[in-house]
């Protein structure tokens, strides 16, 4: 048992798909009047397209791709600031691969690297800290992005750096949290959503109670899902059953990884290291209160915004998008990727306008790469 292959079993998949079809029928949803289920997390968007789940589920069920892609919601100004830091003397900028090709106003990090900046991809923040240890004459900065799945690992790395007194190490913190943008979407009168598939790995950190408000205040079902195709299909079935039965509850399909109460060590580390920013800019959603994290003053020595005097509160900010870019509308599920006038024309994976075409979780990239529009055309 490797806890991966078993959850990709095609026989079980057929069983769940048949059950999904039955329940969609019972609800009476059709292609013209479909149910809208939002998968919040970009990793789920990726999995849906990778396995062709949107084509396997009945036409009465439509997936609305949510804003849970931390790369996609990065404002261009943050990329600009990151490139700015990377281009300063003696800096080694480290980042996850996901951020390398996101366009800034001047350039992406990939382009900055080609222009000579020392930018390196790492698998873990710990590898960045190790780089700092091995290069005492350099300033090593880590581009911290991600939702709550990744915030604890950055926090634990800061705590380790603090214990080691690794003074040439800092984090450019762009960590954000999931519940605020969900609330923003639920408050949006134009969003018609019947249920949610919840982010499995965010939840292994924060638990499932932060989603109570969705069921209690907005009367929508939410099922926290794992990332293998059977996890997604089972979660969709559970959401549909709630809709059919007129229930609105928070359920945990991913109980093998997600404890209901979350991970105490992670939560404690995050509380120790971060405090919420009063508000943070989200691409496509504008400013959202208490949705971004900054490093507490106690750990200011590891805060790149303090060290390099850049970022929030240091001057005028560009808060916009490229001309013609409709990333915001796609990301909030208002339009599908191929409805964006730039899709496949002015915006392609080779020459992306916005982050959704570049990020591996971006709905546009997934649509373009795995099929979506082109699959429909060939069927």
């Amino acid at each position: 048992m490797n806890y991966t292959d078993e959850f990709r079993d095609p026989v079980a998949a057929r069983g769940v798909l048949a059950a999904i079809e039955r329940v969609v029928d019972e609800i009476g949803a059709t292609k013209d009047k479909p149910l809208h289920i939002m998968e919040i997390c970009g990793g789920h968007t990726h999995a849906i397209f990778r396995y062709g789940l949107d084509k396997l589920t009945p036409p009465g069920l439509e997936f609305i791709h949510g804003p849970g892609c931390p790369v996609c919601v990065l404002p261009m100004s943050r990329i600009d600031e990151c490139v700015d830091i990377a281009e300063r003397p003696n800096v080694i900028m480290t980042t996850f691969g996901d951020a390398m090709r996101v366009p800034g106003r001047r350039k992406s990090m990939m382009q900055a690297k080609a222009d000579g900046a020392d930018i390196r991809m790492v698998y873990s923040q710990l590898d960045a800290l190790e780089l700092a240890r091995r290069n005492p004459g350099k300033e090593v900065v880590f581009f911290g992005l991600g939702f709550e799945t990744t915030t604890p690992s950055t926090a634990l790395t800061i705590l380790q750096a603090h214990a080691d007194r690794q003074s040439n190490f800092s984090i450019f913190c762009n960590h954000i949290t999931v519940p605020p943008p969900i609330k923003a979407l639920l408050d949006d009168p134009y969003m018609v959503l019947d249920g949610f598939v919840g982010p499995g790995h965010v939840s292994m950190v924060i638990g499932i109670r932060p989603y109570d408000f969705i069921a209690r205040d907005y009367k929508k079902p939410i099922v926290v899902a794992g990332f293998e195709p059977l996890d997604l299909l089972q979660s969709v079935l559970m959401v549909l059953e709630q809709i059919r039965d007129g229930r609105a509850e928070v359920e945990n399909q991913y109980a093998r990884v997600v404890p209901d109460e979350g991970n105490p060590v992670s939560i404690a580390a995050c509380n120790e290291v971060y405090q919420p920013r009063p508000s943070f800019e989200w691409r496509g959603l504008g400013e959202i209160d208490a949705s971004g994290l900054r490093i507490r003053d106690k750990y200011a020595a590891f805060d790149a915004e303090v060290k390099f005097e850049i970022g929030y509160g240091t001057g005028p900010r560009f808060t916009g998008e490229q001309d013609g870019c409709r990333c915001g509308d796609v990301m909030t599920g208002r339009i599908k990727p191929h409805a964006c006038p730039q899709f496949g024309k002015g915006c392609t994976p080779e020459m992306p306008l916005g982050a959704l075409m570049v990020s591996s979780e971006g709905a546009c990239a997934a649509y373009y790469q795995y099929g979506g529009l082109r699959l429909e055309a060939v069927e």
């Binding site: 062709g52 789940l53 790369v71 691969g97 090709r101 991809m121 698998y123 080779e350 795995y370 082109r374």
Partner: protein, 348 residues
């Protein structure tokens, strides 16, 4: 016969300097000690003078190809830049149905590279050349200043002969043709990633780098009508299939469950978020054969060590011309597109 006894030339330096590229004594010593004493080319002139009877057969064609190799790190489990510089060019000839004969080898060496590294590269090249049954017959050496190169860059060109009657062309592939691979996918790409060290992963994966000409000859003996062959190098299986689909104007359908993958390669892909379809291979063949010859082709491949892991993976179809579609393990379908840029590790 005039026996000329020439004094042996030896390099005494530990590292390559600009003098070694200067055209003088130092360069002569380097070339002879490190390269020509190993490759044993047929003459001492600037050009190799060659003949092979197969060139004269009516209907035979000369095949000619070239490739440059810049891999970093230069050495990795299963081979080094020397191994792939010979196998890569041999295979480029072989997939066209050519019998490879002669290779040239040009080196651009960064100042400061250790002489022992060059000796190792030369030894790997000769070993692969012998395995493939080719000779390295001419070459060139240049040295560039520190920072102007990246260790050693190698360019090889290869000459082979396509016997009369063979026509292996991507555009010949027709709907109904069966697609086969000779073995597991992605070993080379995964080995390089692990060897680079920046992801700090430990595994036993070795590059699959090997010459494929004997394998192709074995299949051609059983199946003279191979439509097309490709070695799935940069861009992996996905790129090779897309090239064929585009050239032939056919659709291609493959089945995910039939793709042979080593467990460790799956592991690296799962950890880094990579798709094994795009990982490079340096010793894996993709073949298209007429449907009634698929069984023979498979048996012929399996009879040779390089083809032991051969499998049928899909077929060419009339639908969706130019597009490759994969049936996923779940039964759904997804497009397998050409790679855009480099595949990067991800956390999302």
């Amino acid at each position: 016969m005039n026996q000329t006894v020439r004094p042996e030339r030896r390099v005494l330096a530990q590292r390559v300097t600009l003098a070694h590229g200067g055209g003088g004594k130092a360069m002569r010593d380097l070339i002879e000690d490190v390269f020509t004493s190993v490759f044993a080319p047929p003459g001492m002139e600037d050009q190799a003078r060659l003949m092979d009877a197969s060139l004269l057969e009516p209907g035979a064609e000369l095949a000619f190809t070239t490739d440059s190799f810049v891999v970093s790190p230069m050495e990795f489990p299963g081979g080094d830049i020397g191994t792939i510089s010979v196998c890569g060019t041999v295979n480029d000839l072989a997939v066209g149905g050519a019998r490879p004969l002669w290779l040239s080898a040009a080196f651009i060496i960064e100042e400061g590279v250790e002489i022992t590294t060059l000796r190792q590269i030369a030894a790997s090249m000769q070993k692969s050349a012998l395995e493939a049954g080719v000779r390295i017959v001419t070459g060139d050496t240049k040295v560039v200043g520190k920072g102007s190169g990246d260790g050693v860059f190698v360019t090889t060109a290869g000459i082979g002969v396509i016997p009369p009657g063979r026509r292996m062309l991507a555009e010949s592939v027709r709907p109904g043709d069966i697609a086969l691979v000779s073995g597991v996918l992605g070993d080379h790409g995964a080995a390089i990633l692990a060897a680079r060290g920046d992801m700090d992963l430990t595994s036993d994966i070795r590059s699959d780098c090997q010459p494929l000409n004997h394998l192709i000859e074995a299949v051609l003996t059983a199946v003279p009508d191979i439509r097309a062959a490709r070695d799935a190098t940069r861009g992996g299986l996905a790129s090779a299939l897309n090239e064929v689909a585009y050239a032939a104007g056919v659709g291609i359908e493959i089945t995910e469950a039939d793709l042979p993958l080593r467990q460790e390669v799956r592991g690296i892909c799962e950890i880094l978020g990579l798709d094994p379809l795009y990982l490079a291979n340096e010793g894996t063949l993709v073949l298209f054969v007429p449907p009634d010859q698929a069984v023979s082709a498979l048996a012929a491949m399996k009879s040779v060590p390089a083809g032991r892991g051969a499998r049928v993976i899909g077929k060419a179809v009339t639908a969706h011309p130019g597009t490759v579609i994969m049936k996923t393990v779940l039964g759904g379908a997804r497009i397998v597109d050409m790679l855009v840029g480099e595949q990067l590790p991800r956390i999302c």
